[in-house]
């Protein structure tokens, strides 16, 4: 008696795939899972587009971001001004394009600083353990006891306005979460059975870091960094809204919004477009982060 074979699409796909030799690697698996994740791809494409906009802002933008034209103030969206104009008659479209450059660059700065400080502390704490771990993590507990936005605002209010001040503020306020995540990633690997096993067969410490620790933690850290990008943009915008951190006429999206907040009931377009830019950017980073998490952690499907 013949076995029942129903050629479903899945089976055909399977058969096609099997023409090439079966080779599996964790990286290829992760890439496969990532590409299959629609959200992640959408997020990735949006971020790429934003990067292009940020780099080519000077070429695409029809006006200079600080060029004022009082005759054209408070205009709604039109052919001449795609996103309309603000109270000084500045073209909001151009400001939003330049905003991509400033916002992304500043957020990247925050994230790099947070990773180099908080991430490094977490890695040190996780790797060395013992007293070092206790001291670092207790300090982080203290920092974490102050809500993140509040801490950032306090630091900027103490240091004053300006780009380096704001970067410092966001760095400090992101430090606890960054260090806790990185520490957890390291601990996860340190205590894993395969590390014990390779130690048992006499693998050297250097080789262990190179072959086990780094490949198994880099993925997690990329996820945290991508997640922090969205969070930094959010905090930056909130700081600008409260009037601390950056100063006008920097075309950071939060600041564009903050300048427009007095007019939003009569000219909603002034709030709408920068708000949408922030929303889309944070959404894209969150989607990318989620996609990476799903791709790199096969357990969470």
């Amino acid at each position: 008696m013949a076995k029942i074979k129903t050629p479903t699409p899945a089976m055909v796909r399977y058969a096609k795939k099997h023409k090439r030799p079966k080779t599996y690697s964790p990286t290829r698996d992760a890439v496969k899972r990532f590409v299959r994740n629609r959200n992640a791809i959408v997020g990735f494409i949006i971020i790429m587009l934003l990067l292009v906009i940020a780099i080519l802002a000077g070429v695409i933008a029809p006006y200079e971001y600080q060029a004022q034209d009082y005759a054209a103030a408070f205009q709604g969206p039109s052919g001449a001004h795609l996103f309309g104009t603000d109270n000084y008659g500045r073209d909001l479209f151009s400001r939003c394009l330049y905003g991509a450059r400033y916002t992304l660059l500043l957020a990247l700065g925050c994230v790099i600083l947070a990773f180099l400080t908080g991430g490094a502390l977490g890695i040190i704490a996780g790797y060395f353990g013992g007293t070092v771990d206790t001291v670092i993590m207790r300090c982080m507990d203290v920092l974490q006891a102050i809500p993140q936005v509040l801490l950032a605002i306090c630091i900027t209010s103490a240091l004053g306005n300006g780009v380096p001040q704001m970067l410092t503020a966001i760095m400090f306020s992101s430090m606890p979460i960054m260090s806790k995540n990185c520490r957890a990633a390291i601990l996860n690997v340190r205590n894993a059975d395969y590390v014990e096993a390779s130690r048992a067969i006499g693998v050297s410490e250097g080789r262990m870091i190179l072959k086990h620790m780094i490949p198994n933690t880099v993925g997690m850290m990329v996820i945290y960094v991508v997640g922090l990008m969205g969070a930094s943009i959010n905090i930056m915008a909130s700081l600008s809204y409260l009037g601390v951190g950056l100063v006008p006429p920097t075309p950071e999206w939060g600041l564009i919004l903050s300048e427009a907040k007095g007019y939003f009931t009569s000219f909603p377009h002034m709030v709408l477009f920068p708000a949408l830019m922030i929303l889309i950017t944070i959404l894209a980073f969150n989607m990318l982060g989620d996609g990476l998490r799903d791709a790199l952690d096969p357990r969470l499907k």
């Binding site: 409260l242 708000a275 922030i278 969150n286």
Partner: protein
């Protein structure tokens, strides 16, 4: 059990001391002299020196810090530069507003987020799941002040349903609560969804199915209770997020709470007020986290019995004896 609680409460002290160090440092690194802020410009040198001595600003920093801690413990958070009133008193009158907004927001987040997250997990990959996930992602990606502005636009300016700014009765609380609640919705749905997804694949869920239990009862009685531990710890984290959010949202809506107080203090560079406000919010946040930690002991039976067994004090011994007696009778 009591020992366990006492230990956790004692742990608050170093944390709060650390927070005081930060708060004090913020003041210390700020350029400018508080004396300038307190006195009018035409004050004499004598008056300035007198005030400097009174505030202890001529002492070395460690001495100033010890004085600051001592004052804070006795409830003296300094005098507001702008109103010349004690900061603590000003904070206490504003605190209830912030607490209502904050815990209302937690309630909205939990009451919407947990059912939505559960639905999204039970119907994984369905359109319900997609809608819930996209919606909560959009809310999470919107900065709180943007969301607040949108809500004002829709519900106050267009529909005239709710008051937009200021505090004029209970209706004023709705929009600020909704703003913070909705922006934290994503965290609750996400954590509920992922922990529910993990739980509904467990063997004991299959056991419950094999008993002939309905899907609804399986979800609510079996799965949700097991998924609740990560959700609880999320609530603890979110309270911090929401206290920070209160700072922004109170400024958007002009609610006279602690957040607005700090916001105004920052604009006026009124440092005792900033320090006091931060200290108070940090204390609330830490206490809420402590309560969440303690509540784990009651949700998670494994933890509960380990606490009960390892640190059996007189009360536990009495309780155990009593329980044994009732069991014998039965």
């Amino acid at each position: 059990m009591l020992k366990f609680i006492a230990k956790r409460v004692l742990f608050l002290i170093p944390i709060m001391l650390g927070v005081m160090v930060i708060v004090f440092a913020i003041r210390a690194i700020t350029p400018g002299n508080p004396v300038d802020s307190l006195l009018s410009e035409d004050a004499t040198e004598e008056q300035r020196a007198e005030l400097t001595a009174e505030l202890g600003l001529d002492q070395p920093l460690p001495v100033q810090f010890v004085r600051y801690v001592g004052d804070a413990i006795t409830g003296d958070l300094g005098t507001s530069y702008t109103t010349k009133q004690p900061v603590l008193q000003e904070l206490l009158t504003r605190l209830p507003i912030s607490l209502i907004v904050c815990f209302g927001a937690v309630a909205i987040g939990v009451l919407l987020g947990v059912p939505l997250g559960t639905l999204s997990a039970v119907k994984q990959y369905s359109w319900t799941d997609s809608v819930v996930r996209i919606l909560s992602m959009v809310f999470a990606a919107t900065p709180q002040f943007c969301l607040g502005l949108v809500l004002i636009m829709v519900f106050s300016v267009q529909l005239h349903w709710l008051p937009s700014v200021g505090l004029s009765g209970p209706a004023s609380f709705i929009l600020p609560m909704a703003t913070i609640g909705l922006s934290s919705l994503a965290q609750y749905t996400r954590i509920t969804r992922s922990s529910m997804l993990e739980v509904i694949r467990q063997d004991y869920i299959r056991t419950a199915r094999a008993k002939g239990q309905t899907e609804f009862a399986i979800t609510t009685r079996h799965a949700l209770r097991n998924a609740f531990i990560p959700i609880m710890s999320q609530i603890g984290n979110q309270v911090g997020h929401q206290l920070g959010g209160a700072l922004i949202v109170e400024n958007v809506f002009g609610m006279p709470g602690v957040g607005k107080y700090i916001g105004d203090a920052i604009t006026a560079r009124n440092f005792p007020a900033i320090q006091g406000g931060v200290l108070m919010l940090a204390l609330i946040f830490t206490i809420v986290n402590l309560l969440v930690d303690l509540s784990f002991a009651f949700i998670n039976p494994r933890l509960k019995s380990s606490i009960m067994n390892s640190k059996a004090g007189p009360i536990e011994k009495w309780w155990k004896a009593r329980r044994k007696k009732t069991a014998d009778v039965a």
